[in-house]
Symmetry: none
Subunit: 174 residues, 4 copies
Amino acid sequence: MNMEMGDIARKAGLGRGTVYHYYNNKISLIEDLLIEAFEEAQKITMETLNTNESPLIRLEQYAKCQLRSWIKQPFVFILFKNLFQSEPIPIQNYDELLNNFQTHLYSPVTQAIEEGIHSGQFVSIQSETLVKLFFGTLIGTATSYIGKNNDLDEADRPNWIDDVITVLFKGLKA
Amino acid sequence: MNMEMGDIARKAGLGRGTVYHYYNNKISLIEDLLIEAFEEAQKITMETLNTNESPLIRLEQYAKCQLRSWIKQPFVFILFKNLFQSEPIPIQNYDELLNNFQTHLYSPVTQAIEEGIHSGQFVSIQSETLVKLFFGTLIGTATSYIGKNNDLDEADRPNWIDDVITVLFKGLKA
Amino acid sequence: MNMEMGDIARKAGLGRGTVYHYYNNKISLIEDLLIEAFEEAQKITMETLNTNESPLIRLEQYAKCQLRSWIKQPFVFILFKNLFQSEPIPIQNYDELLNNFQTHLYSPVTQAIEEGIHSGQFVSIQSETLVKLFFGTLIGTATSYIGKNNDLDEADRPNWIDDVITVLFKGLKA
Amino acid sequence: MNMEMGDIARKAGLGRGTVYHYYNNKISLIEDLLIEAFEEAQKITMETLNTNESPLIRLEQYAKCQLRSWIKQPFVFILFKNLFQSEPIPIQNYDELLNNFQTHLYSPVTQAIEEGIHSGQFVSIQSETLVKLFFGTLIGTATSYIGKNNDLDEADRPNWIDDVITVLFKGLKA
DNA sequence: CATGAATGAGCCTTCATTCAT
DNA sequence: CATGAATGAAGGCTCATTCAT
């Protein structure tokens, strides 16, 4: 929401007013991008958590795929950053979006982590704390890799995703 | 920077114009708060990392003290959030602040982590990655606990700091 | 001038840009409509005031025909409303139009009224005042009958024109 | 609504933004002015129509006082012009204002006119038509006297109000 | 010191107009 | 001829900042 419509237009190679052919206003532009991001995130969630693997394997897959998508589709990252940190966004159906986030993005991870705890694969710590730690680690770490200065090739730091996941899950394992 | 001067004044129990008796403008107000926060953070850094303990013990102390200070002095948290995530703040001496952050807050942690790696206490992963993971985990996790809705007593979730540190360092240990 | 070109185009069953094949711009569109309306109004003026009848008869004919034309050709009504009330319209040759209005639409009525006064048919009141009263009554009353809600058939209120003219001229008569 | 906030500010001798200390936005500014005007109009209505005089005398008083107030308080005039002509104004409680107009400004006149008809003082014409004629005449005539070019002293045309009322009521009388 | 009315730069948004197809 | 995507000038509104009291 801090971006100016003029900048957005310029980045899209358009004039200031042209953006309004595609979106009624700034808010609905953001809304559209967030909904698109939500759908992508939900797709990843379902593909990785709806398998027969153990919770640990599933969550590793989940984390890896999310991080990769965040690099390629920064708005998915922004979606998580904003909704996880519950910084209200002044879009029309914010509550609905927040609800959907809870139901379709947050809860599945919570359930997988609880499964992991109960099956003894994960440390025996309050699941709520582990979920916050899980997302916090992914988002917090990604924040320092996914910046405005995308002048760095991923080649420069090829394995950060794997490294982060290695350490994170070593910490989570029982 | 998203707060309005009117809100700041009201929270301080002052009229809109009175704030300008203490600060020349919004930027220097932020600057002052950030410098104050910087000094607090630096104090914590020195007190916890300048000891004879092993890197692991020192970093655990560091992490615990930082998290505690973030709860009580949110501006220290904001300082880390902004400078670590390199979202430029339009203050006058931003580069100087960033330099000081690098030198006095970021480097000491990097050095401790490198010590930990070389001494075999920590996993053998590129130190730069571990530092980002370290701060990312602390900041990212803290973000979901330190929100605008500070209506929750810390008593409600008493051990989250310990739990986070437990998991984080289990992941970092060799 | 408050209508949008998009609405005008849609009402004409055309695309937004197509209107510009027929008119250079909004102003010349309005100008054309007003000139057309002016010619219609002038026709009525000449047909009704250029007779050998008494001023009273002529002005009654004039009033009746104008009101009828206003119902069927709202732009004639708009012409009177705007030029009589001297709300300047930003068309190119506004002064010329205003001049023509004065010369060919306003003056003939003024002359007829002055004739009526001098011949003793009309009350002995400053002619300027009577002209303003005359047009004011017609335009003001018509305004409440000629609205956007043209869902009412004229059949619903069949005699308002006659009634208005009856009362108006009863007032004007000596 | 066609005025620009910049013009309004300049006419008030204020800067563009200062107007927003007194009104939240353009619409509520208009709303306030209209409500103020409504109260003035209602006061005049009550003072002139709530007497023991005959309908004719009362309505003459009413007409005279309204016209005088329109000169001195143009927003009262604007109120009548807009609500009588039912050009919807995009204020928040337009329907409420319209209702109040009907109840407290329009109906009392209608009743007085109906009284006049039934008592035989007025011509026997559908009351609705007479009301529209009554307001239409006042508003339409006033429109040509109350313009933006208020450079003309009232002294220049001292008796127009009396003349208009004379003619109007001569027309209305039985 | 304290205040809030006043200010205007800057941003969002609308809409008449252009132009490539 | 017809179209609608693209444009930018212009107006509404916000908010950091100033200043008279």
